[in-house]
């Protein structure tokens, strides 16, 4: 990846402006803990065990104060499973009391009828329940035994309490792509909105990506489905690589990493995007003297990302303007060059590169997976191909940073 230094253009499209970055993120993802009761096989953050360096309640409050000062209106809180932090509900209230709206992702474990009633009474809180199969059979293979029932119970509790418009967040895989209509029915039944995101080869996702990512035919199927669904289904701009089929899907169709989004992890490390928890994309730590704003505004990595990137062979492709070479994290974690095509390039330009013998998958720079897999609820059911379930998983974090935002096609002047 090589940046081409230019100064910010005057006027121009919003996407061009975004390429040069914003004074503060539009919204950011904040993984509150690496601890998780589940062990999903594709967890982006390789969660499971709590990190002993996890930020204290006071340090989290200080981050919220800073976000308020920077006018970051909205955070996506995830993990791990954020609700198992004892101060989770306090931090949730602290954020909304400080004009920082919250959407949090959960597997549902703590969404009791009482909590559901509390959530229904709040403004500015959005709840997203992770579900990766429209049936227990498909879901529990990936997310663990009993996790389907846990999620459905949470959705039932929310709707019984009168909570409006929860989100059901689905990572689209080879195994659930045929269930899109069923997911939509499930969401409609609960008065919820369906949200689909892309399976990333990040965290433990790297171990299962080649077996779980949608096939080329399924990608086409997904694209057609999304075109029909339009804005009734949220995608958080997750599938902009599919724009290479010809027609852009709703959203920005832009890699926002370090430009309009970023991720704060449980120990305060700031990464370029939620799918890039790796030293290569580490910009700094919120505990450094100038705090989060110092990292956002001055980190070398973010400066580098905030200029148009050279995109090698992709620039010659007629669809380059649509997909812009795809997802940086997806390329990195599959060992592909960052200035080449996305591993799921719909024009097939990455097929040869993926077959290359010398391709090296970068080793993880951290892993909070539990050493012993859960038994009972959350027990791992998936054993596919080379993946050994010895690396036990989790997550509640298929969290796309632009989620929940409504990008009107006709932007104000």
């Amino acid at each position: 990846m090589t940046s081409v230094m230019h100064s910010r253009p005057q006027g121009g499209s919003l996407v061009e402006q975004f390429e040069y970055g914003l004074d503060a993120p539009i919204c950011l993802t904040w993984e509150l803990t690496y601890a998780c009761n589940l062990a999903c096989v594709h967890c982006l953050s390789s969660s499971g065990r709590r990190d002993p360096r996890e930020l204290s309640t006071e340090q989290c409050e200080a981050i919220i104060d800073e976000l308020q000062a920077m006018q970051v209106f909205y955070v996506n809180i995830g993990g791990g499973e954020p609700t198992i932090r004892p101060d989770f509900w306090h931090l949730l209230s602290y954020a909304v009391d400080h004009q920082v709206g919250v959407k949090f992702s959960t597997n549902g474990v703590r969404i009791t009828p009482e909590r559901a009633a509390f959530l229904a009474s709040t403004d500015y809180v959005d709840v997203q329940i992770s579900l990766d199969g429209a049936t227990a059979e498909v879901n529990d293979r990936v997310r663990g035994k009993g996790s389907y029932q846990m999620a459905i119970q949470a959705l039932d509790n929310l709707s019984a309490a009168g909570f409006k418009d929860a989100k059901i967040s689905v990572v689209v895989t080879r195994e659930n792509v045929s269930q899109l209509d069923l997911f939509k029915e499930l969401a409609d039944h609960h008065g919820a909105t369906l949200r689909l995101t892309r399976l990333r080869p990040s965290g433990r996702g790297a171990d299962v990506w080649s077996e779980l990512h949608p096939t080329a035919e399924q990608q086409r199927e997904l694209y057609n489905w999304l075109l029909v669904a339009g804005e009734s289904v949220l995608t958080g701009d997750s599938f902009f690589h599919l724009a290479g089929y010809g027609e852009s899907l709703p959203g920005l169709n832009l890699c926002g990493a370090g430009r309009v989004v970023c991720l704060i992890d449980p120990i305060g490390d700031v990464y370029a995007c939620p799918f890039a928890i790796h030293d290569q994309f580490l910009a700094g730590n919120v505990l450094s003297p100038n705090g989060f704003s110092g990292v956002w505004q001055t980190s070398e990595l973010f400066q580098e990302l905030r200029s148009p990137q050279t995109s090698g062979a992709c620039t010659k492709c007629e669809f380059f303007d649509a997909c812009r070479g795809g997802c940086m994290a997806a390329k990195f974690f599959t060992g592909l060059p960052l200035d080449g095509p996305d591993p799921e390039c719909v024009q097939g330009y990455s097929e040869q590169a993926l077959l290359q013998v010398g391709r090296t998958i970068p080793s993880a720079s951290q892993d909070h997976s539990r050493t012993a897999a859960p038994r009972g609820i959350g027990e791992n059911l998936l054993q596919i191909g080379s993946f050994t379930p010895a690396a036990p998983p989790s997550r509640a974090c298929a969290e796309d940073p632009l989620a929940g935002f409504d990008f009107p096609a006709n932007l104000t002047t």
Partner: protein
């Protein structure tokens, strides 16, 4: 898309109470906490106009105050109309200039 609201020069509009404007190099972000809707104001002059809206000021005065050339007023009214249609700005009591 929501239907466009028509804005007249001799009306008064204000930023909705649930809305915050955040300055950016290209203009501003407007965020509506109630609807969680985000809109981008892509011109600094538009930001100046929106910031100067209040119950005592007519849209015409806000445009003049921001030195927006008269030939651009229709475009600005359209932009304000789009902000109004998403609830970012709201109309004050009708006040007509005599």
């Amino acid at each position: 898309m929501t239907t466009l609201v028509s804005i007249e020069l001799d009306e008064s509009w204000v930023l909705a109470p649930d809305v915050a404007l955040r300055p950016e190099p290209f203009g501003a972000l407007a965020y509506h906490f109630g609807t969680r809707r985000l809109t981008f104001l892509k011109q600094k002059a538009l930001v100046t106009v929106v910031n100067s809206l209040n119950a005592q000021t007519l849209v015409r005065q806000a445009l003049e105050g921001a030195h927006v050339p008269e030939e651009q007023w229709p475009a600005f009214l359209k932009a304000l109309g789009s902000l109004a249609s998403t609830g970012m700005i709201t109309r004050c009591d009708e006040r007509k200039v005599s």
